[in-house]
Symmetry: C2
Subunit: 159 residues, 2 copies
């Protein structure tokens, strides 16, 4: 079973593909921080994001999407555009018949770092212990995506 | 020139297609209030909405999309899901190479009713005067979509 894990955004989309190896451990098959230029109109950025998700689905054939639930933040304008981008990601995945799993930031912190009040740093440190990230220097959004993927592994295993 | 006008939503999406006739007046070619059931998971509703937009584009071949800009409202949860649905609509249209025009509620009121503080009723009454809606009893969301289309006609003519 392959999981496509997404940390949604417009400027930066964290993308990770995780795969179960031998029914025990997870391996990171692919990860990237996909960026779109702020110089482009918003709708063009949505198309770039949707096209990239579609490309990754075609290449890695994941069976499900794990994605963070969005909540309101202080910067209202950004949250609305991020919600639009998130809609495009979910739409592309649902159209390609991936199962859709959504997790709150609290669920991700709990699943990866063991407690709901874990810092971003705690989560990133635990991600590095839980899965081999290779030698690649990762951008935060990529690590966040891996954390979301690991959350899906932990939670869906229990169900 | 045909305009696809959308009043974005998840429960109800107002859809209208307007066409210029003889370079003077606009005609309403199509309108509908597209509904999705609250019993469905959110991602399935996004797929239904995207598929419907795609169907309308294929059938009527509009050259541009006119859509309302979203702002925060009291009901936060709804606004986030509506933003996701709006993202899907813009994405489908941009993928199909429609020009994208976005208007604030204020711009729509100004363009249709002549002043930015017009009530929903004022706008609807003016829509009925500006364009022949036929004998069909329209749902509010449909009339809102027509108003957004008329705004595009008014504003883009001046540019």
């Amino acid at each position: 079973m392959k999981i496509l894990a997404i940390d949604p955004g417009v400027e930066r989309v964290g993308i990770a593909v995780l795969e179960k190896i031998g029914g025990v451990r997870e391996a990171l098959v692919y990860s990237d921080c996909f960026k779109t230029s702020a110089k482009l109109p918003h709708h063009e950025r949505l198309v770039l994001i949707g096209d990239e998700i579609s490309r990754v689905i075609k290449k890695y054939k994941p069976s499900c999407l794990a994605i963070e639930k969005l909540y309101f933040e202080n910067n209202q304008k950004t949250v609305m555009s991020v919600a639009e981008a998130r809609g495009v990601v979910v739409y592309e995945c649902a159209q390609n018949e991936l199962g859709i799993f959504e997790y709150t930031p609290m669920q991700i912190k709990l699943a990866v770092a063991g407690h709901g009040r874990a810092s971003k740093n705690d989560v990133h440190n635990m991600v590095e212990k839980l899965i081999d990230l290779g030698f690649k220097k990762m951008i935060d959004d990529e690590v966040d995506a891996v954390a979301i993927g690991l959350t899906a592994v932990a939670i869906e295993k229990l169900r």
